[in-house]
Every structure is written in C-alpha cells, then in structure tokens.
C-alpha cells in the first residue's frame, strides 16, 4: 500500500458520495421497515452504527488470523454477538422502542451493509481506518434513515419525534395526515425519489444504460 488512506475522506465519503443506501442500495429492508417515525429510525441508526463500528474494529484486529474459507461464518458470529448485546440493552432501557422495532434490531446481523463493510474493508485495513470507515457508513445509513423517517412521520402524522408540528384537522388545524406515508410503499417511493435527487446532483452515480436506443426512429425520406 503506497499511501495510508486519508481518514477524513474515509469518514465523509460514505455520507453522500458513496452512500451505502442510495448508491450501493444496501440495507434496504430495515431502511424501509423502521422509518415510520423518527424515534425508531434514530434508534435503529444508532444501533447499526455501533454494531458496524465495533464489528469492523474486532474483525480488523484479527484479520490476519481469519482463515479465508470460514471468514463469513466468523464475521456473522462476531456481528451477531454484538447485535445480541445491543438488543438486550435496548430491551432493558428502551423497552417501548425495542417493541416498536420488533425483529429489525436482530436482523442487523443479516444486514448486507454490515457484512459488506466488514468483508470489503475491515478485512484489509488496520483497526483505525476500518472503524472510521464503518462509522462513516453508519452515519451515511443514519442520514438516509433520518430523512426518510422524518418525511414519513411529518406527512403521515404531522409529528416530529412525537411532537405535533403540523396542526391536524381533527384538532382544529389544517393538516390532513397522509396515511399512505405510514405504509411500506411510501418508503419505497421516498427512497426512490431520494436516489433520483442525489443522482440528479451527482450524475456520475447514475448507472450505465442497459439498452442503447436506436439512433433515429425517422425513416429516410
């Protein structure tokens, strides 16, 4: 390796330019499921960031001792142990939110994002850059979750973190909640629109065309 990677870039790249959700389309299952409100989205974001950072650190520490043939099993065992710890902590101190998140904290184990970062980055780098990269990816994931969760809670219930922001019609205000926002499809739509917006600003993220259109549809005169 010629030059150790710049830590600041490692941290900030995954926020937008290499965002794990909007560019690499990883970790969507949880991103769609837990974003009905900001509180659950925030809890999920923090849990995933903590698990990801610690797992990257641990795997990076023992990266020279992991046999290649069983590396996935090993990574999953490490991630799963951390997830269990987080899950227990949530159940002990935030049982309300833990119930709202149901199985999705447990499913962090199988989140492609976690396995992708440990597999692609932590296995080949020293602990510090590995953990910085994992933390950055966790923040990138959190950013998307907060945006989608915020929009869904705001337009679905008129609330942010459970506080009424837009006055509802039933309580004498003007805002009619858009109940579609609380259903799963709206998360797809919002995520799609978000990806569209990001790619409109950063056209280099757009994928290559699958088909080339014919040059001209006009027949020669």
């Amino acid at each position: 390796m010629a030059q150790p990677p710049n830590l600041w870039n490692t941290l900030t790249d995954p926020l937008i330019r290499q965002n794990p959700v909007t560019l690499q389309i990883l970790g969507l299952c949880s991103a769609l499921a837990v974003t009905t409100g900001l509180a659950t989205a925030l809890t999920m974001s923090i849990s995933l960031t903590v698990v990801l950072t610690l797992a990257a650190g641990v795997i990076s520490l023992i990266r020279r001792h992991i046999p290649d043939t069983i590396r996935l099993i090993l990574q999953i065992v490490i991630v799963a142990s951390l997830v269990i710890v987080i899950d227990q902590v949530l159940q002990a101190y935030f049982s309300e939110i833990s119930k709202a998140l149901s199985v999705y904290v447990g499913l962090i184990t199988t989140n492609c994002l976690v396995l992708g970062r440990t597999e692609a980055y932590a296995r080949h780098h020293t602990p510090l850059p590995a953990m910085v990269d994992a933390f950055g990816n966790g923040l990138g994931y959190s950013l998307v979750l907060m945006i989608v969760g915020g929009l869904r809670e705001l337009f679905g219930k008129g609330e942010l973190f459970g506080f009424q922001v837009l006055p509802l019609v039933d309580q004498g205000g003007w805002f009619t909640p858009l109940s579609l926002m609380l259903l799963a499809p709206s998360a797809f739509f919002l995520l799609g629109l978000l990806v569209w917006a990001v790619r409109a600003v950063l056209p280099e993220q757009a994928e290559a065309r699958e088909h080339t259109p014919p040059l001209s549809t006009e027949p020669a005169e």
Binding site: L178, S179, L180, F189, E218, P219
Partner: protein, 260 residues
C-alpha cells in the same frame, strides 16, 4: 409515405375518440362539478407534461387528456384541490413521465394516481356510477376495439369472466358498472396491458377474477375501489403474462422446428 400514419399521437387521438361517449354521458350526468374536476386534473397533468418537455425534452402527448378523464371520473369525491393535485402529480410523474412519457410507462398513470388517492386518503368516499354512464362504456369499448386501439382479446377475456361471475350471482350491479368503466378506462389501456394475444386473454381474465375475488371477500370496499385495485394488480402482472406467452411460443417453435 414519409412517416407512418400510426404514430403515438394517432393512437392517443383515437383512444380519446373512443372515450367520447363515456365522457359525454359522464359530463351530462355530473354537470358543472364534473367539468370543473376534469379541467383541474387536465391542468395539473398539462403542467407536468410541460415541465418534462422543458427539462427532459419529452414531447407532450394527447394521452394526457385520456389520463385526465380517467382520474376525474374515478377519483374519490370532495378531495379538495390540494389533495387531488398531489395524487395526480404523483400518478403522472411516477407512473408515466419518469419512464420517458406515454408509451414507455409500465402501469397506467391514472391507475397509480387513483391507487395513491384511495390508499392515501381512505376517509373520502369513492364515486358511484348511474346506469347511463355505465352503459356508455359499451360503445366506448366497441369503438376502441373497432379502431384497434383497445385490445379486443383483453376485453373479451374480462367480459367472459365477468359473464361467468354474473351467472354465478357473484357480481352485484354497482360492482359490475364500476368494473366495466374501469375495464375500458384503465385495464384496456394499450400501453400498460399485455402485448401478446395469449397474454391479453389472460390479462383480461385475471382482471375479471380479481374483481370477483375482491367483490366477494373484501368487506367494506367501494365498487370503484375494488375495480381500481384489481386494475392495478392486473396491469402489474401484464409484463409477466407477456413473458410467459413468449416463452411458450419459443418452446413450441423449438419443439416443432428445432429452432426459434
């Protein structure tokens, strides 16, 4: 001939001509309120077509009026300007314009808009249809099939299953009226329906079966809601049906001739 006669706009114009009886009867029964609703929806769609023409050089299409008619006729009642515009914008942009305009869309934009409005604002009532308007769907379907812009196999498949449903006593009059209008306006749309003949038969039959299923087991659903939901699922299944029809055709050719 320098250009073919059958351009996209010809199809859109003929489609519009086929829907004229339906539109005329609906406007006659609905009066000024119906006209206002149609105007508002058409205005919103027109603005979006203009935006996409200016930003992405997509030529606007007469099919905007077809979409406007379908949404104006079937949208839930008393939504208000803001909610109606929101639903129409969502349907037209996400259902049609982002794919490159009319002719490249996967589902009918009106179906998307109606499903959005229906599931997004469940407290508003769906419209009901009187017999004259529903009967006007017959000439509309006839003209469309005769001109070749509505797929005959699809209409036949849906009517066949519908007739079986009526014979078995599974379809009540309001459901039948709504299902007929939705069949003509949304399901038989030449872009979003199946493109192979076998696929069209199955597509129509699938729509009929879904309507019967929803009408029987979906308690508390309005007739139009039943029909629109069936239309959405049927048009989502259309590419799959085409794919299956093509695979069958290729397999048969291979068996008979040893090549495709």
């Amino acid at each position: 001939m320098m250009r073919g006669l059958w351009t996209r706009e010809t199809v859109a114009a003929l489609l519009l001509a086929a829907y004229l009886p339906l539109a005329a009867f609906w406007l006659w029964m609905g009066g000024v309120a119906a006209l206002g609703q149609l105007g508002l929806v058409a205005l919103v769609i027109g603005i979006w077509h203009l935006v996409f023409m200016l930003l992405r050089a997509q030529p606007p299409s007469l099919a905007a009026l077809v979409t406007a008619l379908a949404i104006a006729m079937l949208a839930p009642e008393n939504l208000g300007v803001f909610r109606l515009s929101l639903g129409v914008s969502f349907g037209v942009v996400m259902g049609e314009l982002v794919f490159g305009g009319w002719g490249r869309n996967v589902v009918n934009p009106a179906t998307v808009a109606l499903a959005f409005l229906g599931f997004g604002f469940p407290t508003f009532d769906w419209p009901g249809f009187d017999a004259p308007v529903a009967w006007a769907a017959l000439p509309a379907a006839g003209i469309g099939v005769a001109l070749g812009v509505l797929p005959a196999a699809l209409v036949a498949g849906a009517v066949g299953v519908g007739a079986l449903g009526v014979a078995a006593g599974l379809l009540s009059d309001p459901v039948l009226f709504a299902a007929g209008i939705v069949l003509v306006l949304l399901v038989a749309d030449p872009v979003a329906s199946a493109a192979t003949t076998v696929g069209r038969w199955i597509n129509g039959a699938l729509y009929g079966c879904l309507v019967i299923l929803f009408a029987t087991y979906w308690t508390g659903a309005a007739p139009v809601q039943v029909a629109v939901s069936a239309a959405l699922l049927a048009s989502l299944a259309a590419p799959l049906l085409d794919e299956a029809a093509l695979a069958l055709w290729i397999a048969r050719r291979r068996r008979r001739h040893g090549r495709t």
